[in-house]
Each structure stands twice: as C-alpha cells, then as structure tokens.
Amino acid sequence: MPLLHALQEEFGYIDDLMVPAIASALNISRADVHGVVTFYHDFRRQPAGRHRVQLCRAEACQARGAAAIERLASERLDLRMGETSADGRVTLDAVYCLGLCATGPNAMIDDVPVSRLDPTTLDRLLGDLR
C-alpha cells in the first residue's frame, strides 16, 4: 500500500500497465495487485483531473444541507459524482466523512478543507479552478 500511495502521488493514478512491475517488485501475483488496487476507493485506474473536488455525503453533512450543495456542484461542473471533465480540468468525487461534522457541508478542494459551504462560496471556489 505505501508503494501504491507513492505511485498515485507521483502519477496521479495507477495505470494497469504498471501492475506487472509492481507485482514483480513485491514478489506477489498480478492478480493480488489488481485486487488491492480495485478494492480501495482511493486508488484510481484512470488519470484524474488537474483539480479534485471532494464533497462529503455522510449523515452529518446531509443534516446540514449537503444534498443541495451536491446537486449544485453537479450542475455547475456538468459532472456526476465520480466523473472527470472532458478537458481534464476537474474531478468531482464523493467522500464519506472528513471529520468536520459540526460545520458542514464540507468539501476538500485539492488539499484545502472548506466548511460551511453555501452556494456563493461554492461558486467562487469552483470558479477559481483553472
């Protein structure tokens, strides 16, 4: 796992073409590597967008209006959850809890956490992504 994290950090995703090399480096089978890569939600097999917008969808954020924020973000970016825009600018992802549960709706935009999202802030933040 530390190896996979490092590769994803470096390349942004784990290409299927890398799997045989990982397997031989760790002396395990390709199937084992494939199994691990596909099990964890964090590892992606396709490149992500230049920016990553993660919206929290867990209960505590739902209690504070996350569903409306999710709809709005989806509309503005013209993406569904889990999709990357065609121009490779941004990926929209769901996350189940960022641990900021008293001040939702929450998001993580690239590496910056944001709390108390409202439509105005969301529009401003999404507009800033180039």
């Binding site: 994290h5 964090d42 209690a63 641990g99 549960c101 008293a102």
Partner: protein
C-alpha cells in the same frame, strides 16, 4: 511582543484559521498554532496571552487582527476554559487539546506529559495491565470490550514478536475525536501506545490513519520522529488507509496494513492471539489508548471514580450535524441524551425542532426526542436497540425524511461492503431497492421466475406496502444474524430504528421531501 494562540486543526483551517494566523503575525504578534479546543462555533478562535491569563476571541476574521490585538473586538469571550461548554466537561483525555503546541515536547512535558509512561515503566508489565483493568476502561472504538482483558490476552501469549496497533480509521460520520486528538495532542497517543507496548511486551507499533485526514497524518509522523528517543526501544510507524470504511474493522485493518485487500477475517483466531503478520496484537482505538496515560499517572481509581454502571471513566462525546454547539464534549458516562443534545448542544443550528439523532455513526440507531431520557451508557443503549459506538451524535431537524436516511444506510453498506458474505453484499442492494419502492410507492412486477408456468402458487409481483415493510424487516433480520462483521450486522440498526420510531415516513406513496435540503 504579544503571544497569541490560533488553532491549526483541520476544522479551524476549513473555517479560515490560516488567514487569521497570517494576519496576526503580519500585525506583529507571535503566533503559536495549537490544536482545537473543540467548540467549532468559535473557530477561528484566537486566544491572546495577557497577565491575567489567556483571553479568547471568536469567531475572528483575518481583517479583525488589529481589533483582537488591542482587545476591542466584539466577539470577546474572556477565559475560554471558564465558558460553560468547557467548564461542564471532565477532560481527562483531552486535557491538553487546544492548549498546547501539539508538536512541542517542552509544552507536553510542562503539562505533565510522559508521567504515565514513567509510572508504567517503573511497574512490572502485569501491574500496568492490572491498573488498566481496575480503571474499567472499555474500548472506545465501538464494541466496548474491556481494554485490560485484551491486553492480558496479548501479554499471556508467548511469541518472539508482538505488535500494538492503533485504529485511527475513524470512518463514522459524526465523529472526529480521534482526529482532534491526533492533531491536538499527538504525544498523548504515542505515550498510550508506548505504555501498551511495555505492558504486553511489544516493541513495534502501527497507527493506521484514514487518508481523509492529511493533517493528522502529517502531525502524527512529525510527532513520532520527535518522540522517538523518549519511547525507544518502542518504535512506531504511520500507515495510511485508502478510503475503505470497512478497514476500520480490526481484522480488515490488519489485512490492510499487511498490504492486502481489507477483507474481514473470520474469528477466531482473535487478533490478540494471531493478529498482524500472525503475531499477537493489541488493537485499540485512538481514544482507548489515549486514555491510558491518565490512568497510569493519576491512578486507576481516579478514572474509575466517575461514570455510570459498568461504563467507567469519561467518554468524549462528539456533537455533530445540525446542532448549535457542535464539538467535542468529554464527560463521565451517564448524562442523558437529551442533556447532551439540548442543554450542551443547544438544539439544532437551523433553529427548527429536533426530529431525530443518530448515535454511533452510520451503523448506529436513530432516536426520536421522546427517548431523550436515555443515559449515555453502553448497556442502556444496547437495551434500547442502539449503540454508543464511537460516541458521535448526529442531530437532524424536522426537514429530514427518515425513509431517505434508512435508504442511505443500506446504500452505504452496499458501497462499503467488503464482499465476503452474501447478506451484506447482496442484501444491502436489495434493501436499497426495497426502500426505493416504499418511497416512490411503485410496485414491483413479477420477475422472470415468477412468470414461469410452474410457479402457480406465487402471488405475482406486486406487494402492498405492509408486505414490503415486512420483507424489509425480514431482510434486516437476515443481515443481522447472517453477517460476519458489524457492517452487515449493524446496518439494520439505523434502518429498523427509522422504521420503528418514524413509521409515518415510510407510508405508502409518501412523497420524498428532499432530505436535509434547507
């Protein structure tokens, strides 16, 4: 130069604390970054050191720096620890959180740090275990298993290598105490783990932190490096999760550290006998381990003196969701749910009536306000069809639709299932479909098998709502008893409690009010 304290906790940063700290330092103040005190309504909180002690201001915006420094800012709070939200707490585990610079060894020592470890090392391992047993400490990760007994098992197992693993996967929505502690007082966790290592005879430890907590990962890694010489020969390492809720389950977590898919193992063998890499392993939640330094330094009796029934000591309650005073409230067991939500929490943030609270994360039950006299205690909650779990309380106002929340519980289970057992893997998806039909009032048609000529005595497809609900209960029953771990086994809790306490939301053809939208 004026010294000011600003939190660098992830929650404070999400509310703008970095800009505030920058503005204060530009204005000539000496800024010390701390963890969070744990009342998020006040963040970004600034505390200014004065001859009379620290004076708090919050929330503060970056543009307010000058007003804070000359003391004229309108959001002046005075002594933060004297505010009723803090004065009513009993902070054993979180005593230093928000007060000290989390990465300063000097600060930690000046506030009584390492006294627990010193005391433990002066004792034979068995005596340290006896102290933990006598304190009555039970696992804070969910199951509430007595920590001392777990340690005893590992102690008694003979093996050349043993491990201490800290479960910092904190996947439950509505919980953040593990994160708060790791960011605000990481040495406390390190000390607790080193004590565990001494007690059971382990020299290596791992802290498994979820990837959603980048700040905690950074802080823990730095703290481990700084404390290495103090806890030696005990050695620690951070391992990072990869977005799988089920890896919070202890055996899945061990598989994940070993680099495998995080699939739940069948027990026995217990991890205490054959855990990480097949060796005897103590696996405990962050809060269980972080409670230990206090027990060793202040004595087991001091810890056990407070509490309720068989739940001894303090519990770090996390108030979350639609609640006015959201944050961390550490207190002895036994306060009622209503006191916590209404008195301490101040009711909903939206100002509307409370409709339901979910206790214990996505696998915890929903309770209506009519059950607010329930005392916070493992046994009392179990008797009421719920669980305390990691002690998170998520508050919902009257705009929530409980059928929608029940559906979410099933959907979450389907999303996170490790796939090992059928009731959980398939049952959760069928559960989503069932609840969807209840919500939309749609009736299912006969399926291919039911249309076969042989199936003469099958009623066909369409079932009235009562039968669908009965089927849902049946499905929950199967999941509860047929699942290997608590993900499949406890998902019925939120579903059934929603069904039991809020039947009106499941009425046939009830319109789905867009849950939780404003």
């Amino acid at each position: 130069m004026t010294r000011v304290y600003v939190s660098k906790d992830m929650a404070a940063i999400a509310l703008g604390a970095d800009a505030v700290a920058q503005a204060l330092s530009d204005a000539g103040a000496q800024v010390v970054r701390t963890g969070s005190r744990g009342l998020f309504r006040l963040e970004p909180l600034v505390e200014v050191e004065t001859p009379e002690g620290r004076v708090g201001f919050g929330p503060v915006a970056a543009a307010d720096a000058a007003l804070v420094l000359d003391g004229s800012h309108p959001a002046r709070l005075g002594d933060v620890s004297a505010m009723s939200f803090f004065a009513r707490q009993q902070r054993f585990t979180f005593a230093h959180c928000g007060v000290i610079d989390p990465l300063s060894l000097d600060d930690y020592e000046a506030h009584g740090g390492w006294r627990g470890l010193t005391a433990a090392r002066a004792l034979p391992p068995q005596a340290a275990i006896d102290a933990v047993k006598a304190s009555g400490l039970r696992g804070r990760g969910g199951a509430g298993f007595p920590t001392g007994i777990k340690w005893q098992t590992v102690h008694d197992a003979s093996a050349p290598l043993k491990y201490v693993v800290c479960n910092a996967d904190e996947g439950d929505s509505g919980t953040f105490a593990d994160r708060l502690l790791m960011e605000g007082d990481p040495f406390c966790l390190i000390e607790g783990m080193a004590i565990a290592g001494h007690a059971v005879g382990a020299e290596r430890g791992y802290i498994y932190i979820r990837s959603e907590y980048p700040f905690a990962i950074r802080t823990m890694r730095e703290a481990i490096a700084r404390a290495a010489a103090i806890v030696a020969p005990f050695m620690l390492e951070v391992r990072v999760g990869a977005g799988a809720y089920v890896c919070g389950e202890e055996t899945a977590l061990l598989d994940s550290i070993e680099g495998k898919r995080g699939e739940v193992r069948a027990k026995p063998p217990l991890p205490a006998i054959a855990g990480l890499f097949g060796r005897p392993t103590v696996i405990n939640n962050v809060l269980s381990l972080a409670a230990v330094p206090f027990i060793l330094s202040e004595g087991a009796d001091a810890y056990a003196a407070i509490g309720f029934g068989r739940s001894r000591g303090t519990v770090p309650v996390q108030l979350a969701g639609n609640v006015r005073n959201g944050g961390l409230f550490e207190v002895g067991f036994g306060m009622t749910l209503g006191e916590l939500v209404m008195d301490i929490g101040g009711g909903t943030d939206s100002g509307r009536p409370v409709k339901a609270v979910q206790v214990g994360g996505p696998l915890g039950a929903y309770f209506p306000p009519s059950m607010f006299d329930l005392p916070f205690d493992y046994e009392a909650f179990a008797a009421a069809g719920g669980l305390i779990g990691h002690a998170g309380i998520t508050v919902f106002d009257d705009s929530v639709d409980m059928a929608h929340m029940a559906r979410f519980a099933m959907e979450f289970c389907a999303h996170e299932s490790c796939g090992k057992c059928t009731p959980c893997r398939i049952g959760s998806t069928r559960g989503v479909e069932l609840i969807d039909r209840l919500i939309t009032g749609e009736r299912r048609g006969a399926d291919a098998v039911e249309r076969l000529p042989q199936m003469r005595n099958v009623a066909g497809g369409a079932r009235p709502a009562e039968q669908e609900i009965e089927l849902l209960r049946d499905l929950c029953d199967t999941m509860k008893f047929g699942s290997l771990c608590a993900l499949g086994g406890l998902t019925p809790y939120p579903v059934l409690s929603a069904l039991d306490h809020f039947p009106q939301d499941f009425g046939a053809g009830a319109p789905i009010s867009s849950a939780a939208a404003e």
